[in-house]
């Protein structure tokens, strides 16, 4: 059995990338909102980190959706997903969340950046100015709705797979939570990476704030991963077979222990703890840690998708 081609494999890596990008977008937005709410307030639009998140979130979610569409066997029929709904289908509901999310996301970006944009417009495009002012006035509502939507989107990426009842590794109640948390941490990492690339201060309050949240988040992620596999192994039967197939010897076992646990969780945790004691953060530290977590989450998505489909009930 090869790692990328085996009997029963239906969904390939494009789906993993789609799940990764959707979670990343939700996470970036979530952290941008937190940054603005707890640290930056009115000056949020000046922060390269918030700017990075405002760029990354829409690009990631649109790219993800694009990949999903291309991966259909009938890409041109995509509009049918938007027209016909099935309330019992996670995918259908997810697409709905995704659409509303995108809309509210753009509204939020408009409201956060209304001040500088309106200044730059300087009276031109009267209608646009008025729109942005209106959005800015309702920023608190937009923000509240966007927080809920981003969390739903993050969890949806897990629910999409956990609805597949034929695979014990996927049909698992911990999976949505695991994907939500790892999606959030990939969003945090993308925000940090984008921020420092856009000449944000690697020792600024934004980085300190995000890193402070990241340490407990990585710990929760490790705990969830442990619960995930311990639960499967203790269930016995095919669940146990599936779990041991996934994290045992072989290509995906290496990806899990080396990539997901090693590069994705342990190293960022170690770096973060170290950065906490050493007061000075440098560009390379922030960039490398963020890249490691991003890589880890991307590998986790592929690992779960492939090993999940390897063992059926």
């Amino acid at each position: 059995m090869s790692a990328f081609h085996f009997d029963g494999l239906v969904w390939h890596w494009p789906i993993a990338i789609y799940l990764f990008l959707a979670g990343l977008s939700a996470g970036a937005v979530f952290f941008a909102i937190m940054l603005k709410h707890f640290k930056l307030a009115e000056r949020a639009y000046l922060s390269p980190f918030v700017q990075a998140a405002a760029l990354i979130a829409p690009i990631a979610v649109c790219a993800g959706l694009g990949i999903l569409v291309i991966d259909l066997t009938k890409p041109l029929a995509f509009w049918k997903i938007l027209v016909f709904y099935n309330t019992s289908s996670v995918m259908s509901m997810g697409v709905l969340v995704l659409l509303v999310y995108q809309l509210v996301l753009f509204a939020w970006i408009g409201s956060v950046f209304s001040l500088p944009v309106n200044k730059w417009l300087d009276g031109r495009f009267y209608l646009l100015t008025k729109c942005l002012t209106l959005l800015a006035r309702h920023e608190d509502i937009i923000t509240g709705v966007l927080v809920i939507l981003s969390l739903s989107l993050g969890a949806y990426t897990g629910f999409l797979l956990s609805a597949l009842i034929g695979f014990p590794l996927l049909n698992n109640p911990v999976l949505p939570l695991l994907f939500l948390i790892s999606g959030l941490s990939s969003g945090a990492a993308a925000t940090l990476l984008g921020g420092v690339l856009m000449r944000g201060n690697p020792n600024g309050i934004e980085v300190k704030f995000i890193h402070r949240i990241e340490i407990p988040m990585i710990l929760v992620e490790i705990m969830l991963l442990f619960t995930f596999f311990a639960g499967l192994i203790l269930s016995g039967g095919q669940s146990q077979v599936a779990a041991l197939n996934a994290i045992g010897e072989g290509f995906w076992g290496w990806i899990f222990w080396g990539g997901v646990v090693g590069v994705g969780l342990t190293l960022p945790l170690a770096f973060n703890l170290w950065m906490k004691v050493s007061s000075d953060r440098k560009f390379t530290y922030v960039a490398v840690t963020a890249s490691f977590s991003l890589l880890g989450v991307l590998l986790l998505r592929n690992f779960i998708l492939y090993t999940g489909q390897m063992t059926g009930v």
Binding site: A77, Y85, V95, G166
Partner: protein
């Protein structure tokens, strides 16, 4: 700040109330419609009568225009069991189980995979299918496939589109030389299907998943006991 927060909460409350009222009104209706129909088709495969001739596979391919490389029904052969010359094989049918609680129908985003209320057949609406393959991944029996010609999720539909519209039995049933396949209406106590179901012990696959399949099997006397 405070008024907008209140407005936001009110909106949320309204949405939740709306959703709950909607779901309360919707469900009983759906149940009624399912109970009305007089017809519920099912199939039985008698592994003791099956000789593994593959006539069913060929007939299905021809009648339903199934392209080479994919198939709606497979007869899976295991064995040989026993010592020469007393050797035997086991043949089991691998095709759509027409689940009452069909996972494929549940996950399909467009409703292209649907249960025909009149007959209980799990069918595919080709026009609506976008080819997301969610149903293929969701089917625990792994019998759905993408038809390479139409690009649509395809599977056995009890010949809903071909034979049944002409009042005929499914192609595989007619083609079987040993009458190992029995097709009929579960709600008709006089049908050959119900009579066979009541006279022979049958099993269904993966019932513990709660899919309530409508493909019954009579276990062969050949083969080995697997624990």
């Amino acid at each position: 700040m405070d008024t907008s927060k209140r407005r936001f909460l009110k909106g949320c409350g309204g949405a939740i109330a709306g959703v709950s009222v909607y779901s309360m009104t919707r469900q009983p209706l759906a149940r009624d419609a399912a109970e009305e129909s007089e017809v519920k088709y099912a199939m039985l495969h008698d592994e003791n009568l099956c000789i593994g001739c593959n006539a069913c596979e060929d007939a299905c391919r021809e009648v339903n225009q199934v392209p080479i490389g994919v198939s709606r029904v497979d007869i899976v052969r295991t064995g040989p069991f026993g010592e020469y010359p007393e050797q035997s094989y086991r043949f089991s049918r691998h095709s759509c189980q027409h689940c009452e609680a069909a996972p494929c129908v549940k996950v399909c985003p467009t409703g292209a995979a649907y249960i025909d209320k009149e007959t209980g057949i799990v069918a595919v609406n080709e026009d609506r299918c976008v080819g997301c393959q969610y149903c293929i991944a969701a089917c625990p029996y792994q019998i759905r496939f993408i038809n390479p010609v139409t690009k649509v999720a395809d599977k056995c539909d009890f010949c809903q589109q071909s034979q049944l519209t002409r009042g005929l039995q499914p192609a595989c049933v007619l083609a079987c030389p040993t009458e190992a396949l029995v097709f009929g209406n579960l709600k008709d106590p006089n049908s050959a299907l119900v009579k066979t179901l009541k006279s022979k012990p049958t099993y269904r696959q993966k019932v513990d998943l709660g899919t309530r399949p409508k493909l019954f099997h009579v276990r062969t006397v050949d083969g080995e006991i697997v624990l």
